[in-house]
Symmetry: C2
Amino acid sequence: MTGSKKLGKQTYVFSRPLPILSTASVVGRKEGEGPLGEYFDEVITDPLFGEKSWEKAESKMVREAVDIALGKINASYGDLDFMFGGDLLNQLIASNFAARDLPVPFYGLFGACSTFTAALSLAGIALDGDFADKVLVTSSSHYQTAERQFRFPTELGVQRKPTAQWTVTGAGAAIIGSSGSGACLTCATVGRVVDMGITDANDMGSAMAPAATETIKQHFEDTGRTPDYYDVIATGDLGCLGKALAEEMLSELGYDMSKNYTDCGVIIFTPDQDVHAGGSGCGCSATVFAGYFYSSLLNGDYHKLLLVSTGALLSPTSTQQGESIPCIAHAVAIEKV
Amino acid sequence: MTGSKKLGKQTYVFSRPLPILSTASVVGRKEGEGPLGEYFDEVITDPLFGEKSWEKAESKMVREAVDIALGKINASYGDLDFMFGGDLLNQLIASNFAARDLPVPFYGLFGACSTFTAALSLAGIALDGDFADKVLVTSSSHYQTAERQFRFPTELGVQRKPTAQWTVTGAGAAIIGSSGSGACLTCATVGRVVDMGITDANDMGSAMAPAATETIKQHFEDTGRTPDYYDVIATGDLGCLGKALAEEMLSELGYDMSKNYTDCGVIIFTPDQDVHAGGSGCGCSATVFAGYFYSSLLNGDYHKLLLVSTGALLSPTSTQQGESIPCIAHAVAIEKV
């Protein structure tokens, strides 16, 4: 096509830098007690957040993050042209019920834990095409809502496998603008679904590592960049097992990730917080970005970040039917310009 | 913003007509026996479609629709720049597992039965912004997968309420191009979440009618058009009860819908097919569009269609927690140019 913004097979380059005008992160107590605690805007110590159910609490966390993000730039709901949001819950009830209170054209996305960068990339596409001036992106998860939906009711006290990850309780929001400077979206590599036949739903990090590897490799191939282009490359929630696997797979492909590669699920908790392989959930990369990485870009600690949220697209039904775990990863380059 | 393609509050006008290059529809036996049977590309008489579960069958129907749509224009997977797809199932397993076999950058959407027009509008945004040359859109539902997930296992033989609708078994696909003539996307009005406090999960049509009304009203306000601009205005799956309600609500707002308003859920079955209030499901507006409406646009029976897919964003969990039903509707104008 003429004048295409597509580069290579899966990368889409924005015709101008699209500034992230504001972000907000609302997290649970455990996340607040973790190493990134100081970067989050609000720590909710009550997992019910004053609501009658964990699902309603998660939805309220989304609204809270939206209000904080808007407040930081003195904007209101009426300034938002689109909302792209998603979560892990069946029928996206955390996002849908949050959107109910917002008079904003809304798209619900399901990409499991890849949702945050899926939403960022779509925000970029809508802004770059002059369909919007400000776009809201949200993503959330909640330990208790995820456990009882995907695994067991927490009241059952089922012992967690050593490979298991801990779903982050948190909501992240970002507001992206149509042009400007600061920490900006510059391009996105949109993932395809990758399934290597892994069936262990207690080791999501290893299941998602090939999808992360595939998207990162494609990003480098499409852009001609190498890992050292970025100050930091952060996958979403591979945890310590998946991160080691992705690093090894990328190394075999000739990409040295040893210097600047991290994973949001690894850095949001410390090993002594008893989270086994690390954090996970839609809220993981969303809050780590909205809190820690966005601050680090603004204060100059980092200038170029490749954020690669990773999602495992299984359901309890597909697992019961003997299916393996399809996964996906979307990469977004965020650069100080 | 300068050069904005946003018109009014919620309408987005494409800078050039975006042609629908091909569509395909794959449906179940009941849909094949209905009044639109002749328009569908393939009728699957076995609800398992040769698979071991209904969920796998639904996923296979999506792939089948994609293959048929590609075959009609002699295109292959490699020609597709994006896939936007969704379904009703928890974690979108019908779409995700279909996308696993396609080497195409993929976005999963959850908008319940509004998914097809959500996907069409996003395809338009990506194409108009020169991010893509060909975009695949899919949407599916399956009577048996929906019943056991949202209501009761069909084996239980629970009597259906008179207000209930019948989930369409079917998958629709469309491939949209970046420029050309024919039946083209020209603009979209993207819905916001509307919740009028309705709690009866056995009367989705009435729950969704206010969202449909809101989006149609906004489309007219934003564009300055009146109902007679279109040859036909079709909501997704309000069924006969919801359609009557939407028509009444729009009439009270001053819009005469009596001449050219229909609903995909009303026309896909006949009353003697024992479907109570009509058809529903993500596959309803997708297959009715891909089959009937697209043919009617190509052969000149219609020149201007406003397709308004409608979604009820509830989950069994939200219903159990006493929540009302948030709904959404997205309108896409498809015109012969």
